[in-house]
Amino acid sequence: MVHHILCVDPDEDAREETVDKLRSELAAQDLRFETAGSLASAEAELTTDTAAVITEYELPDGTGFDLIGAAQTACPDAGCILYTDTDPDTIDTTALRGSITEYVGKDSIFGTERLSQLLGTTIETRVQATYPVPQNETERLAALRSYDLDSPDLLASLDRITDLAADHFDVDRASINIINEHSQDFLACYGDAQDWESMDREDSICTFTILEDDDVMTVEDVTEDPRFETRSETLLDMGIRAYLGANLITSNGLVIGPLCVYDDDSREFSAADEAYLRDLADVAMDLIELHSRLDSVAGDMGEAQ
């Protein structure tokens, strides 16, 4: 997997030296470095694919904290590391209160070794994300990418499943979502959910559903749940107060996302409700895998001819 790293330092020689050392000490990783010498040029390099930002504190047109603030919007999952000559005791951290930044002193007797260890851990396990990541995340993402999820026939079939789910639970919104590396995307939607667009993973309820041991998750009221209460205003605006999600699990046991129903009132879901949605999620996954096999067979036949 390619990891995009943004390295920011006004001192060009120091910047290039840091990049060279990281590239050499983390040779086993597929790293792509972008570099910048100012806050403005660094901000222009931030994308949703940025995995980590390594920055000096003092920049000619601002501070490393300004950049970290911008990164929280552009790439909320990115790990941020202050790699600086500035003494941490002299930095006013209240400006960035609540967000997390790693600190490595440039005068460390270990040189870039500590920085590379920390960067390695940060990008491998996404340690600065605000949500837990499954232990088998790499395999899970590989499984997700192995399916052709753009087929119109498949999407039409999945739409019918969200229709069935919405009808059964008497709700206005239902969807089948996939959890990508940094985002939640909607494969099939019913009702008002058809207006929804891709969202950051940190704002998604489903990123917690894919961690559930029993592969189903109920949220009776997002305003009362400690995981979602700080994001509840946005969720309520989307018409989501109660939630039930059941995971789509591949034949290899990996979760690609859930089938969900949403209610704009708080509500309880019974064990029978959970079992029904789980059955529908299994049907949805069967459809995805069957389409994948059909594509594969069609490809083989095409080659044979």
Binding site: L82, P88, D89, I91, T93, T94, L96, R97, G98, S99, I100, T101, E102, Y103, V104, G105, S108, I109, F110, R114, Q117, L118, G120, T121, T122, T125, V127, Q128, A129, T130, Y131, P132, E202, F208, L211, D225, P226, R227, E229, T230
Partner: protein, 228 residues
């Protein structure tokens, strides 16, 4: 990633826990009366017997109170490789630990706590044998009164990443009775294992603990004693 550390982190005879491998994070969970925080503090202070670094993020105790508590359970206690992030919010006093105490005025300043933790960790890592450092975060429950769950999770996970990448041992205290189960389950995702602490049923020892999720550990509830 390989680190310089190799053998497991060992504990005093009164604590019935086998050595824990470098890079692991354990959650020490128990209600206020169970002495869970004392267990967490001791698991870190036991590093004194092995010449290891000891680093505390202390939310309730000042650095001085924490040092005294360590001295009461460990005699002699070598504080030369001890560091404290004192976020008790009480006035910063001159400490015998000198530069190895860093103050953060409010527990809501997770940025400051995290950066000062990183700086102190770096300093200790450089001076202790094989970079062996034990970290105690006491407690997560106290921090949760100042920040929301997602910020706290992000903070705990970042601290655990630092410990993991350096081959350290992390001990995070939590009082599960003060949180919803969903919050405890979410925070538990940052830990490799869990040590549950309760009051002793028959009055023996200082309480009982049981280890979950770590390999090669005693099963079931075990009596422990904290003082030597």
């Amino acid at each position: 990633m390989t680190t310089e550390t190799d053998g497991g982190y060992e504990f005093a005879d009164g604590i019935p826990i086998n050595p824990i491998d470098p890079g692991n994070i354990v959650m020490v969970a128990g209600p206020a009366l169970s002495r869970a925080e004392d267990v967490a503090r001791t698991l870190v202070a036991d590093g004194s017997d092995n010449g290891e670094g000891m680093l505390y993020i202390s939310t309730n105790m000042t650095a001085e109170k924490l040092l005294n508590a360590c001295r009461q359970t460990h005699s002699p206690f070598d504080d030369t490789q001890m560091g404290v992030i004192d976020c008790s919010g009480q006035d910063a006093a001159q400490s015998v630990l000198g530069e190895r105490v860093k103050y953060v005025s409010t527990q809501s300043d997770l940025t400051g706590i995290g950066m000062k933790f990183s700086a102190l960790y770096e300093g200790l890592y450089g001076v202790v044998d094989q970079g062996r450092v034990r970290t105690g975060l006491i407690s997560l429950s106290s921090l949760s009164m100042y920040v929301d769950l997602r910020a706290l999770f992000q903070f705990a996970q970042t601290v655990s990443g630092r410990i993991d990448s350096a081959g350290g041992l992390g001990v995070f205290a939590i009082d599960p009775t003060t949180h919803e189960t969903k919050a405890v389950n979410t925070l538990s995702q940052v830990a490799d294992g869990r040590i549950e602490v309760r009051e002793s049923e028959n009055g023996s020892g200082d309480g009982e603990l049981r280890v979950r999720g770590l390999p090669d550990q005693p099963s079931g509830w075990q009596s422990f004693t904290l003082s030597e």
